[in-house]
């Protein structure tokens, strides 16, 4: 009975999402305040019912209700309770329910922030999100219903959760990733609302920025968690494989990163407007494309838990409608010509444009590398080819080094143009510090580094020093200088920003940017040094034998059998001597009772400067085992860097300028319930389109 309640809740939520979609979009067009209000109220209803459905599914898992097919296929009475809960999103149906729940939470957040946005814009954005949720809920209810029953013959026990997914990383990775994916729907909805009303202006960019930052930060954490999980759970010791599923999450991130930067220009300088809208559409579309790639079974891998043609076709049609529709709207409504904003080659605009260019090219590389094998197969009639990491690395690595090079310059430039003389002096310091790091680091590590790695180290030093110097410069600005508008500071155009500088405060947004960029430099160092200095050996060991690799001594003390809650395991005992440190590493080979599958659990000694990694291969003749030992210096820096980036994004969205309510300009809209004209207004306005008391024209937008 309870699972049917969950099912019913989903159907109710589906109806409510249709109300939000219709009420929001039609209400805004017709200028009916009550319809728009209804759209917002229906959002709370969706939250209640989707959350209820989610709780029902969790309940079914925790109480071992194997009459529910999804529970029977993905759980087992022996599973520890926390994996029973995380098994809810361990496979297709439940993870999509999580997706819908997260979508609904984002919608609620937008609905709650009503007073920060003009009524009609708010209603349109909610309407777009409502339609998206309608699509997601239909997909869930009609093709992927998690509440389907195995009646009348319910199995006595479930067939267990995929052991790969019985892991802490997998408890937290999907929710983070989905929060990022779905979060881009806000930026998307805002862009569509702006295109519909024809007010693609800096106000729109300011409203979008905190939402975009939040989604981007979640996605960053999600990707980092996925990479970390692959590193320790899959037992391969790698941290990124250019696997299509990884790429699927990486593409929205690249588009999102470009978007975060492009929004800055649109907000501050009112330019790049159409481009920014396009990036907002792209970031979310790529999230959907990612869902398609992962969920349709186009690619067979550990991630494609479920394979069903009806689902793939649904997602494809959904993509066609959402992405095709929004790009058509973009083609019709976006303005081709920017309002003549001029800027020199050494200006913040130019460098943000360069950032966008580099990230979009990187996106193109990843997109092509992911889709090309598929396209080749389609066109050649089934011949499989593989592009693999060499392709990605050839293009991606130089692109990211260029990003680092630009990153040591861009943030210290002023809008419009910067005097070359001041710039040259500051850059000399960063360049010097970078080169010094390049010379010192090999000496400290006592390792010779290849030219490529050295270049990455120098560039990381260049970025870090540049940002450090700029923060220091801002902190010790004497009062007299601070009082003068500083052309080098961001936000010199705002009265508020000037006031905060007078109080000797650096805006949170600036701190956020600095932290995120430092995170990028840290990841860059981690990638380069791990790549260069890692020792990876597959060796044969008998009990009592010792071997030395990468300055670490591994002694194998034999195998012990142990039992877990739902598996039996053979664990190796390894005494590891790293300098003066002595530690015991216990890698396992687990056999899961329900499915019978065998999993390798690597034993890792994590460290800020070095990871020591032992995993059991296969038993060989006698007592001998194939053993894999890795020493991975600086590998954690990759993920710490990503966390710093996400933290920076979060700091920036907490900046107080986003906490302001509607500007006086936009409040006027509320008094004027008429719809905006159907033709785009003159550049940078929107308000001008509103004629007091006008009921006409109500032509179809687009």
């Amino acid at each position: 009975m309870i699972p049917e309640l969950g099912n019913f809740s989903l159907v109710l939520a589906l109806v409510l999402s249709a109300i939000t979609g219709a009420g929001g979009l039609l209400g805004a067009r017709a200028g009916r305040v009550r319809w728009m209000r209804a759209a917002a109220s229906a959002v709370s209803g969706q939250l209640v019912f989707v959350a209820l459905a989610f709780v029902v599914l969790v309940h079914a898992f925790v109480t071992d209700d194997f009459s529910v097919a999804y529970v029977a296929h993905n759980s087992n009475s022996l599973l520890p309770w926390y994996y029973k809960v995380s098994a809810v999103w361990g496979a297709h149906e439940g993870s999509f329910l999580l997706w819908v729940l997260i979508m609904t939470v984002w919608m609620t957040a937008v609905a709650v922030r009503r007073r920060h946005l003009p009524l009609d814009f708010h209603a349109r954005a909610l309407g777009v999100m409502g339609l998206l949720n309608l699509g997601f809920l239909s997909f869930l209810v009609f093709t992927s219903n998690p509440f389907e029953r195995l009646l009348p013959l319910a199995p006595a026990d479930g067939s267990d959760l995929n052991p790969l997914l019985q892991d802490f990383g997998l408890i937290v990775h999907p929710p983070m990733l989905y929060t990022g994916y779905v979060g881009f729907s806000v930026a998307f909805a805002f862009a569509i609302a702006a295109l519909l009303t024809g007010r693609l202006d800096s106000a729109w960019a300011r409203w979008s920025r905190p939402w975009t930052n939040a989604a981007w930060a979640f996605l960053t954490v999600g990707i980092a968690l996925g990479s970390w999980w692959a590193y320790y759970e899959l037992g391969w010791g790698g941290w990124w494989f250019w696997d299509p599923v990884e790429n699927a999450s990486f593409m929205p991130w690249l588009a999102g990163t470009a978007l975060v930067h492009s929004l800055a220009v649109t907000e501050k300088r009112g330019t790049f407007k159409s481009w920014t809208a396009l990036l907002a559409i792209a970031a979310f579309s790529l999230s959907l494309l990612g869902a398609f790639i992962v969920r349709s079974g186009v690619l067979t891998s550990v991630h494609a838990f479920a394979v069903d043609p009806a689902r793939g076709m649904f997602i494809l049609m959904f993509l066609f409608v959402v992405v095709g529709g929004s790009l058509t709207l973009f083609g019709i409504r976006a303005r081709a010509v920017a309002a003549g904003v001029r800027y020199g080659p050494f200006s913040r605009e130019a460098f943000l444009l360069l950032n966008n260019l580099l990230f979009v090219v990187a996106l193109g590389v990843v997109l092509l590398g992911t889709l090309y094998p598929l396209a080749y197969e389609a066109l050649s009639g089934g011949a499989k080819i593989s592009i693999g990491p060499p392709w990605f690395n050839t293009f991606f690595v130089p692109l990211m080094l260029l990003v680092a090079l630009a990153l040591g310059i861009g943030p210290f430039l002023s809008w419009k143009r910067t005097g070359i003389a001041t710039l040259r002096r500051r850059l000399a310091w960063s360049a010097g510090a970078g080169l010094a790091l390049g010379v010192l680091l090999p000496l400290i590590l006592d390792e010779a580094l290849s030219p490529g790695t050295l270049l990455a180290v120098v560039l990381a030093g260049w970025v870090l020093t540049g940002h450090g110097l700029d923060i220091a410069r801002r902190m010790r600005l004497p009062d007299a200088v601070r009082r003068k508008p500083d052309p080098g500071a961001p936000g010199h155009d705002g009265k508020r920003a000037r006031r905060s500088r007078r109080a000797g405060r650096i805006p949170l947004a600036y701190w956020g940017m600095t932290v995120a960029h430092a995170g990028f430099a840290m990841s860059l160092l981690g990638v380069a040094l791990t790549h260069e200095l890692s020792v990876e050996k597959d060796i044969r060991m008998v009990p009592g034998e010792a071997a030395e690799h990468g300055g670490v001594v591994f002694r194998f003390n034999g195998i012990v059998s142990t039992e877990g809650p739902n598996y039996v395991s053979r664990s190796g005992r390894f005494e590891v001597a790293d300098g003066d440190r002595r530690l015991l590493l216990v890698p396992e080979k687990r056999q899961y009772l329900a499915g019978g599958s065998v999993m390798t659990e690597a034993a890792i000694d994590p460290g800020f400067f070095k990871d020591i990694y032992v995993s059991l291969g296969e038993p060989l003749e006698g007592d001998a085992w194939a053993v894999r030992v890795y020493v991975k210096p600086f590998v954690r820096w990759i993920w710490f860097g990503a966390l710093l980036m996400a933290f920076g994004g979060t700091l920036a969205l907490a900046d107080k300028r986003y906490r302001r309510l509607r500007t006086t300009d936009s409040t006027r809209v509320r008094a004027l319930p008429a719809s905006p004209a159907h033709a785009p207004g003159p550049a940078g306005t929107g308000i001008a389109d509103y004629a007091p008391g006008s009921n006409a024209p109500r032509g179809k937008p687009g």
Binding site: G312, G324, V337, N356, L374, G595, G596, S597
Partner: protein, 189 residues
């Protein structure tokens, strides 16, 4: 960068997206892993000789199965193992096919422990007329098996007419297997 785009240029993103979608559509059609185009489709089932999992009472224990045992009528060859959860999931459907239709199912017990396999058949029921023992997976290599379960439909001459990677469900039986079987029977009459 978009300062001087013409109106038509604004449709460029749509122009990029639609071919991608088309590729996705084709890739999706081709790559449905349940319908992996098998090199064996339309080819005779490979020659083999292997032991049996559980010889029926009265049959000599050293009897070995070969390709000849698969001829004469349409039958399903189902590759399964006790370590495979999906095999458990499709077991009920195999039992139903065995109980309700005349179609014979031959099992290939793939890379499995024979004792565990016997226990499984005692416990959950035996839908197979006999089980070919493929403990080392060599027949699986001949058959190009990706993993269990995989199911082959053979016609009366032992030619593979259909292959499925993954679970046999009621839907697969109705949509895929039944039409093929009817075609074989029609051709035979």
């Amino acid at each position: 960068m978009r300062t001087n785009l013409s109106r038509a240029g604004l449709f460029a993103p749509l122009g990029i997206f639609l071919p991608i979608l088309l590729i996705g559509y084709y890739g999706f059609q081709l790559e449905d892993p349940h319908r992996l185009p098998s090199a064996l489709l339309g080819k005779p089932f490979p020659e083999f000789e292997a032991g049996l999992l559980d010889p029926a009472p009265g049959v000599p224990a050293n009897l070995r199965a070969s390709r000849n045992d698969l001829l004469g009528e349409p039958l399903l060859v189902n590759v399964w193992a006790t370590w495979c959860p999906t095999c458990k999931a499709e077991h009920d459907e195999l039992m139903r096919i065995r109980a309700e239709t005349a179609l014979k199912i031959v099992g290939v017990n793939y890379k499995d422990d024979p004792d565990a396999a016997r226990r499984w058949l005692r416990e959950f029921g035996n839908p197979y007329v006999f089980n070919i023992l493929d403990s080392d997976g060599s027949l699986g290599v001949e058959l190009g098996v990706y993993g269990a379960p995989e199911t082959f439909l053979l016609d009366t001459t032992g030619t593979i007419v259909y292959k499925r990677v993954g679970e046999i469900t009621r839907q697969v039986w109705l949509d895929e297997l039944l039409p093929h079987i009817e075609r074989i029977r029609a051709a035979d009459d």
